[in-house]
């Protein structure tokens, strides 16, 4: 099952590590908040997203459960 990922806009501080690690999935907007670019994460990108979750300094990125 494809999975969804979300960024908590209140927790995000725009450090941009997610964008460096998985540019296909995360892009900073004009206010320096990371925005998810894909509705569903294809299997090929899951590892990159996992790394983005792990390295986000503010724990702003999570998988959407269910």
């Amino acid at each position: 099952m494809p999975r969804k990922v979300t960024v908590d806009a209140l927790a995000c501080e725009g450090h941009g590590r997610c964008q460096n690690n998985a540019p296909e999935v995360f892009q900073l907007d004009a206010d320096d908040i990371s925005r998810v670019q894909l509705d569903e994460i294809p299997d090929a990108l899951v590892a990159k997203v996992e790394r983005a979750i792990r390295t986000c300094p503010r724990q702003a990125i999570t998988w959407v459960e269910g």
């Binding site: 927790a11 450090h15 941009g16 320096d32 790394r51 792990r54 390295t55 300094p57 503010r58 724990q59």
Partner: protein, 425 residues
Amino acid sequence: MVAEKQTHDINLHDVNLFLRDEFHEAFRVLRREAPVHWNPGSARANGFWSLAKYEDILFVSRNPETFISSKGIGGPGERNPRPEDVARAAARPPGEGDSSIITMDPPRHVKMRRLVNKGFTPRAVNAMEPQIRAQTREVLDAVGDRASGDFVLEVSSQLPLAVICGLMGLPREAWPLMFELTNAALGAGDPEYQTAQVGTAGSTEAARATARAGNLRMAQYFREVLEQRRAEPREDLISILLEAELDGEQLTEREILEFCNLLVIAGNETTRNAISGGLVALDEHPDERERLQADMSLIDSAVEEILRWTSPLHHMTREATADVEIRGQQISAGEKVMMWYPSANRDEDVFDDPYRFDITRSPNDHIAFGIGEHFCLGAGFARKEIRVMFEELFDRYPKIRLAGGPDRLRSSFINGIKHLPVDYR
């Protein structure tokens, strides 16, 4: 039955371990033999848990309610604290932590961060790059055509001072005082910086008195600055803090003073040592240095490797608020936990060949800036300062060489270099 705490004969209380630069070997042993271990206290100091593994430090950093900062972050603390400190801590409203952002707990902590965060985002830092470059050139101009000197006093300490004083709107004349007070606050355990005439050189009494005198002098200085800004607001960080509201209320004078104190100390001492330590690392790895100087587009990843390699802060401390088990060790509520960043940053489970200095290392997910709730607010500035400094330094003095070994700070908190003799040309 209470399980026995794992201990080890490597004693992380021994500050000489850090002075002699033997700590990396000690941590290698601890990661293998006792990654979560108990360092018994002494008559004076509290005992503490040491975390040597990357994963465990992530876990603790990301659970700021269970591992709090408000009981002190700079070490295990004294077993018999002064009565006035105990009274002050007890008088604090519960759940609010201390009045400095770095020793504040959720939920107030993140609100405090949001007041100032916009000034520290990568975008804000990028906008400041031309100014940081101009400041760097000014620092190097002052070296002039000197053939040799002390890299710390002349170069690596000067840029962080210029940048942080610039952000706070402090004049050039304030630099020497800020330099002196930072050394007093963070280098208090080193006889060179001890100003107080108490006890013997290097003693705990002298360290405590030096730090206290430095902090008092800093508060006194900033009280005057606050007065000026109230009368004549500007656009600097101090003015922002004076106007900011949190939950509908202005910050207290004490909160603002503590913030200024933290910015000066955190902004100076760490970045200075990343630049000095970076030069040492490059000097000790001539192939990597040559690779960088031949292709300065590698500078971004070189900066990351310098941060991983030097890990300018040795640790941050937390206190557990609940019983938690990590790797089979039972940590009890009320116990201190120290997170050793240099160890995490050489963890064999995370970094390939961690003892190799590799300026193109990828991935390089070091945690020299911590992670989670208290992730370094100034990381963007630190990265930019280190980058611009090496670009300008190698442009101006491509042949700069160490002319002697680093003179290290006596501290288990800061991976500091006090003096570094160099030949500039």
